[in-house]
């Protein structure tokens, strides 16, 4: 409030002709970013500034960027950052969802609502279409999932739309192969990542040069942690899909993970379905995304839970990462998110 008072004083003391040089204080909300007298910034402010810089760099240097938007919390934060980076203009690129068809309906509702609200173009790349076109074959068996098939759908959509920069919500704290990746991560004409030969990346100067057919994956949330994402959701009062909060759901346990009963999951005879109070810590396909038992109904409940947890989010909730120690690295090499 000192700051608002000061501005008001400055304005009223200034000569009439210079009064407009001093900005007025539009509302209380702007005080949230009022600077501190010692020129310090909080960790969220530093992370936000870095992400916005990255997004503007892409918009300035690439012809056809696209932002991957799944309706999960990381892509929600990424989309909010894009809004802030280009305000008061609209986001100057489309968003794309790689749709496995095995989605939580709450998340698809959220996606459509959010896209309409911002007025951004949505490209849906469908794994079902890739299957129908014979580009990929559906996995069979009780543990079948479309997780790995997404890579082909994603790469085909990048090629078809001639996207040259693809924003992903990956964070380096998520997984050890991701901890190694650059912010601007080069992909060759096959969409492949070569982890042993990454471009050096100094300061905040990003090499954006590519040849036709190649692209760059850009990770604006590289330095964010799971807790940073939740704190930002709280600070910015971002709406998130309801499944991130505690709710009643019919689930069964497989390999220590609670999977939802659904038309896409097939519990075996010894996998008892029961009702539990759960929430989702990550959001992916129904067949590979585990729920956690929780009574957290607000963002601050969730933050308290995450601050106290002793298990990583992917370890707790993703069946797809448990295949082998290098499964993420292998999928990333092929062009996965």
């Amino acid at each position: 409030m000192v700051c608002a008072w000061l501005v008001v004083q400055l304005r009223s003391n200034a000569p009439a002709g210079e009064r407009d040089l001093i900005p007025s204080v539009p509302d209380d909300r702007s005080l949230l970013v009022a600077v501190r007298s010692d020129y310090s910034l909080s960790q969220l402010e530093v992370l936000e500034a870095e992400s916005i810089h990255i997004m503007r760099e892409v918009a300035a240097e690439f012809e056809r960027p696209v932002l991957l938007f799944s309706g999960g919390k990381d892509s929600i934060v990424m989309l909010a950052l894009a809004e802030r980076a280009f305000w008061p203009a609209r986001i100057p690129f489309p968003v794309m969802h790689v749709d496995t068809g095995h989605n939580f309906p709450e998340v698809i509702d959220y996606r459509d609502r959010r896209v309409a609200e911002i007025g951004v173009k949505l490209v849906v790349a469908s794994v079902q279409d890739s299957i129908d076109a014979g580009r990929v074959a559906e996995e069979t068996g009780r543990r079948a999932s479309r997780n790995r098939l997404q890579t082909t759908t994603l790469l085909d959509a990048i090629e078809e739309n001639r996207f040259d920069a693809v924003f992903g919500g990956g964070r380096r704290d998520e997984e050890k192969a991701r901890a190694k990746e650059r912010v601007f991560s080069f992909r060759d004409e096959f969409g492949q990542w070569d982890p042993k030969n990454q471009r050096p990346e100094l300061w905040s100067i990003y090499n954006t040069r590519i040849r036709i057919g190649e692209h760059i994956r850009v990770f604006p949330l590289s330095n964010w942690t799971e807790l940073d994402v939740w704190q930002y959701i709280a600070r910015e009062k971002l709406e998130i899909p309801s499944i991130y909060y505690a709710h009643q759901r019919r689930v069964f346990e497989r390999d220590g993970i609670l999977l939802a009963e659904s038309e896409f999951t097939h519990p075996a005879d010894d996998e008892q379905v029961f009702e539990a109070t759960v929430r989702y810590r990550t959001v992916g396909d129904i067949p590979v995304t585990g729920a956690v038992e929780s009574s957290a109904t607000t963002v601050s409940d969730v933050i308290a839970e995450i601050a106290a947890t002793r298990i990583t989010e992917r370890g707790q909730t993703r069946a797809d990462d448990r295949a082998s120690e290098a499964s993420m690295e292998d999928r990333k090499r092929e062009g996965y998110f």
Binding site: I22, R29, V33, V46, E50, E83, A89, A179, P200, E329
Partner: protein, 436 residues
């Protein structure tokens, strides 16, 4: 001034949590991974499932202890070879600070990756094995750290347990390092004796080394003052992107024209007289916008949008500064180069692409003045080329002027990267010393 109730980790009424970026240099043998593992473990940033996976792998390989290096070596090739090839970023937080660790490789063949990690670091930890003392590698790491102007350096003398926590060993290594460091320009140098394996002086002060009158490593990391490492004097605003809403979110913004960028130096305020480069025209800042509303001042590293009073022709790659405090503007720059191409050497007459702040220009290498031996600091003035990971002094002639400061005055406006036009690879990093 402003409540930071959103920073839930920070205790009530305390200062907001800030970020310290630190780089660790050393090899597995120096106990670097053990040290990082210890910091992560003691600050509860290692999770049970990660530890279980590491224990399982260690057992499967027949190792007698849990190999914490497996936590940081994230690539298959790294785990197979037992070395760090590329930077891994790790995150932990205490109630005072969020820490970003760039865990960088120690081997000379991966110097370019170490340079990547050090370029953004506020602080570097150079690890030395107490039994071996200073090695060629530790001198090289210290040199590269100062070349990249990491403002704070900690020499951590590790494995003190293996030399009976002997004060004389620590002092001998510290003195030797101080003598070497005198040849370098190090802003802030600290020495800490530790045992990463046993946790001595890592998080808690060690009872086994009562003779050490300094703090523990973590205490140092939490309290080292970094806010004044930024340049808050010379106003530098490289224009990154011009915001002109064709379809404004609000019709009143039809004539809006804002210059977006990240502040690289100084403090900008509405009403300030500013100069636009390259035109040399002056105007005033009408407003400093963010999506949350205008702000009364902007400083590094804030990303903001400037609205100017007069309608100037401003585009990406231009610079906004103060009329009486301008950066150098020149088509000739000189600086120290770290060469990073594994396919071609650097030599006079080479043509390269330069990216500096938001400006991309072409360059020709005028002259390679000398090659610097990163181990001995000897200058070889007869060198006519630089190979992978070699450092030298170079002068470049550019197709258009850059607006820059010496790197030791501003890391944002004093650094540039070199790109090979044929392969698009990033092949060099230059720390500008001067222009002509």
């Amino acid at each position: 001034m402003t409540a930071t109730a959103y920073d839930v980790l920070a205790p009530e009424g305390s200062r907001p949590m800030d970020i310290l970026r630190l780089a660790t240099a050393g090899s597995v043998d120096d106990g670097k991974s053990t040290l990082i593992g210890r910091l992560l473990y003691d600050s509860k940033a290692i999770f049970e499932d990660q530890l279980a996976a590491v224990e399982q792998t260690s057992r499967a390989r027949g190792e007698e202890y849990t190999n914490l290096a497996l936590l940081t070596d994230g690539l298959r090739a790294e785990r197979e070879q037992g070395i760090t090839i590329d930077v891994a970023y790790r995150y932990f937080a205490t109630p005072r600070r969020k820490f970003i660790i760039a865990d960088t490789p120690g081997h000379i063949q991966y110097t370019r990756n170490m340079v990547t990690g050090a370029s953004t670091a506020d602080l570097a930890i150079v690890l030395v094995d107490a039994r071996n003392g200073l090695t060629e590698q530790s001198r090289r790491h210290a040199f590269l750290t100062t070349l990249l102007r990491v403002p704070h350096l900690v020499l951590a003398v590790n494995k003190m347990d293996l030399v009976d926590y002997d004060q004389r060993v620590f002092e001998r290594i510290s003195e030797e390092f101080a003598a070497f460091a005198a040849k370098l320009e190090i802003g802030d140098l600290s020495f800490i004796p530790i045992s990463a394996l046993h946790g001595d002086n890592v998080v808690q002060r060690s009872e086994k080394m009562p003779w050490h009158d300094g703090t523990s490593l973590l205490h140092h990391l939490e309290h080292v003052h970094i806010a004044s490492d930024r340049n808050l004097i010379d106003v530098r605003f490289p224009v990154q992107y011009v915001i002109r809403p064709h379809q404004a979110t609000d019709p009143a913004l039809h004539d809006y024209r804002g210059y977006a960028g990240q502040v690289a130096g100084g403090v900008l305020k509405p009403g300030d007289e500013v100069m636009h480069l390259p035109s040399g025209l002056t105007t005033r800042i009408a407003r400093i916008d963010t999506a949350r509303g205008p702000v009364p001042e902007a400083y590094s590293p804030m990303s903001v949008t400037l609205v100017l009073e007069d309608d100037l022709d401003v585009s990406r790659g231009d610079m906004i500064c103060r009329p009486h405090n301008q950066p150098m503007a020149s088509q000739d720059v000189e600086g120290m180069v770290c060469w990073m191409s594994d396919t071609k050497p650097l030599a006079a007459r080479d043509r390269l692409v330069v990216k500096h702040t938001s400006r991309t220009v072409k360059a020709i290498v005028r002259d390679l003045q000398y090659r610097l031996d990163v181990n001995t600091l000897h200058r070889d003035e007869n060198a006519d080329r630089l190979g992978l990971n070699e450092v030298g002094r170079v002068s470049l002639r550019l197709t258009q002027p850059l607006f820059f400061d010496p790197y030791n005055r501003n890391r944002q406006t004093g650094g540039l990267i070199l790109i090979d036009e044929a392969t698009n690879a990033t092949v060099g990093a230059v720390m500008i010393t001067e222009g002509r």
